[in-house]
Amino acid sequence: AQSVAQPEDQVNVAEGNPLTVKCTYSVSGNPYLFWYVQYPNRGLQFLLKYITGDNLVKGSYGFEAEFNKSQTSFHLKKPSALVSDSALYFCAVRDISGGGNKLTFGTGTQLKVEL
């Protein structure tokens, strides 16, 4: 069975500094990986995905993620953090059995961007 680990419950960063939110995965076969963001009292919003191709994936709101097959990682990055980026971030891997887009999520990382 596939799994995703987000080793940090919380990440703190100063506004204007680069940010990284870590994610490692375990799957059999090729991974389909996703990042979602959740603002307070809202649903999850899709940020970006890796299916195949370039290891650097660009997504919404200036976020990008780097896929590293040898390290089984898919870290989320942004060159310059904003206070408005403060939210809960989830990494997820797709379960390809049975079709559709069933997702296995990590436990989430709370990002706090401070002035």
């Binding site: 979602y36 649903g43 999850l44 049975g98 079709g99 559709g100 887009n101 069933k102 997702l103 436990t107």
Partner: protein
């Protein structure tokens, strides 16, 4: 939120009572999902549907049932609510090769 409406948005119910949550989509997507979100667990799949009347279990299906009688509606039923089912429930939709889009969630409290 990609044409997904969950109802109700908040509900308080008593232990042992049945509860039904509704997910309605206007995107005509084939796949629909129910997840629950709990601290320390992220989101976990309860049930999903791959077409009208076609459903299957997810990771945490015990105590839950679902029905999909038409493309746009996916119902989640707690047959006899327990305190362990206090959670935030999210519906999601997708097509076969698209990312999943989520509703705004239903906060359920079982007292």
């Amino acid at each position: 939120d990609a044409g997904i409406t969950q109802s109700p948005r908040h509900k308080v119910t008593e232990t042992g009572t049945p509860v039904t949550l509704r997910c309605h989509q206007t995107e005509n997507h084939r796949y629909m999902y129910w997840y629950r979100q709990d601290p320390g667990h992220g989101l976990r799949l309860i049930h999903y549907s791959y077409g009208v009347k076609d459903t299957d279990k997810g990771e945490v299906s015990d105590g839950y049932s679902v029905s999909r009688s038409k493309t746009e509606d996916f119902l989640l039923t707690l047959e006899s609510a327990t305190s362990s089912q206090t959670s935030v429930y999210f519906c999601a939709i997708s097509d076969r090769d698209t990312e999943a889009f989520f509703g705004q969630g239903t906060r359920l409290t079982v007292v």
